[in-house]
């Protein structure tokens, strides 16, 4: 396994493919997600972006190819194994735990750092009580970070859409991931809210967490990304810095179109 060529803490994807019925959603894709930068994946609808995220978080198993994180082979592992390795994500279609309070959602996000030992759980030992207090305090910190701390004890289903989007991010961050996948965090948000998400992404990136952003909002993508990967029909079309991709004629022609080329030139 040639993990030596990949820098420490990076996610390495090698010749990964995934099909649904007859459709090749991801076709022989290879790339690296380098530690500590903001990485974006763009492409039109149907390019395979969400499929790729699902593959890289263990929700789907690749039909072929390998996925390795920090040299450890995670190919075919279940999602909780990806989470245990330090990979977190949010969902395009919100998957909030509506039957819990806001803070309980975030506390659940810390599950990989919590203990599920049998006897402490059944007897609610002092050790477990202490761990629970700690979990709650850390959860409150993340809620504060995302501006949700005064809704901490509200039921999750009472929150408006924008707040739920931020709740999912808080939940994912609570697990202290090394890589955080954000699947269309700005979907359904207006320009102001999207800009807030952009600022948030930069704040999180500053803590050293690697971010992989899947987005349609080009202003957001170009504003925060260190590296951009463009997908086309499940294949890698082009990759590079935001500027390189923005000016690549193939990308402009196929995906950004005339309007976006103008917008990208002015952004």
């Amino acid at each position: 396994m040639n993990g030596a060529s990949a820098p420490v803490g990076s996610l390495r994807v090698t010749h990964v493919s995934k099909s649904f019925g007859g459709v090749r959603a991801i076709d022989d894709l290879s790339f690296d997600v380098r530690q500590g930068i903001v990485h974006s994946i763009i492409g039109p609808n149907g390019a395979g972006k969400t499929t790729l995220v699902n593959l890289l978080t263990g929700v789907y198993r690749p039909a072929s190819g390998r996925i390795a994180f920090d040299g450890r082979d995670l190919t075919g592992a279940p999602p909780h194994a990806f989470a245990a390795a330090g990979i977190g994500r949010t969902f395009q279609n919100l998957q909030v735990f509506y039957n819990m309070s806001v803070i309980e959602n975030v506390m659940t996000g810390r599950h990989r750092l919590a203990s599920c030992a049998l006897l402490p759980t059944l007897l609610h030992t002092r050790g477990l009580a202490r761990a629970e207090r700690e979990t709650r305090e850390r959860a409150l910190e993340w809620l504060r970070f995302l501006g949700l701390v005064n809704r901490a004890d509200a039921r999750a289903d009472a929150l408006p859409y924008g707040a739920l989007k931020r709740l999912e991010i808080a939940r994912a961050l609570a697990g202290e991931p090394r890589i955080l996948f954000l699947d269309e965090p700005a979907a359904g948000l207006n320009a102001t809210e999207a800009a807030e998400i952009g600022a948030l992404i930069r704040k999180v990136a500053e803590t050293g967490t690697t971010i992989v952003l899947i987005e349609h909002n080009m202003r957001l993508v170009m504003g925060v990304s260190d590296h951009v990967l463009v997908l086309d029909h499940g294949r890698r079309l082009c990759a590079g810095s935001a500027d390189e991709v923005r000016n690549d004629p193939r990308v402009i022609e196929a995906y950004l179109g005339a309007d976006h080329a103008r917008e990208a030139a002015h952004a």
């Binding site: 909780h80 998957q95 909030v96 506390m107 599920c116 901490a152």
Partner: protein, 331 residues
Amino acid sequence: MDSLVHSAANASSRATLAGALTARTRLVAALALVIASLPLVIANDYFYDVAITVALNAIVCIGLNLLIGYAGQISLGHAGFFALGGYGTALVATRYGWPTLAAFVAAVAAVALLAFIVGRPILRLKGHYLAMATLGLGIIVSIVISTEDRITGGPDGMQVPALAIGGLVVQGERAWYWIAGGALVAATWVASNLIDSPTGRALRALHTSEIAAEVAGIDSARHKLFVFVVSAAFAAVAGGFAALHAGFITPAKASFFHSIELVTMVVFGGMASTGGAIVGAAVLTVLPQVLTVFHDYEMIVFGGLLMATMIFLPRGVVPTLYGMLASRTRS
């Protein structure tokens, strides 16, 4: 600035945690109070017998509620675990001559092991398929118990020796009342602890979104299996005690209808509410006793109750009442 926010967060977490602590033990305390004071109003052995039956049904329902209400799974065959607890105790005590207490413990352990073995493949199924699989399992258990009459006494059932703890034979309704009551308090305490823990949150999480739970690091298969085994163990404990108390057990305890009765109690009393499970067990055990004419109409009432609850009060009686009270105090 940061330290100010930090101490404010601390204060809020202490306040709500204090509230949460009391909430977790509140139910146990209230229950213990009720059980301790009930003998003051109970007149005779018949009422003690009803109370014991309520307590044992409640133990099964608490476990079943963890599975159905919290983890969002379903079992239409839990009567099988109940009956196996009873038959296991009886068989180990009579055929192998073990002291009844040891036989009881062995039977519960054996049922937990069985649940562990069948649980893994069964819990890969969801929704209707899971319902059918648990149904099939329960019926197979009841058929085997009925058919292997040389071991189990067949459809007529078998005798169960009396429970002896440390050489002292447990006799009389009063003694059994304290045993059943104590077991109920213990079961409520364990269940409340489980709910208020990372495991409890994991179960509630996988009820709503198994994908999101997995992505948060929750091994959903392992957690489902865990709650399945715990609920089976609760059922076996109740079944073992029921058999020891009655001195007798029949295959009817493993029947499909008994499984449905148990699900009705959980569903009626309240999903995702331990208190609700106890209330459901109490109401639906006492009701047939109170309305003696009931017997001919038992199925109509049960069926109607099941349907009406799921259509009009899908969360069950206790959570709905709780919700109404909460909204009234807020306004």
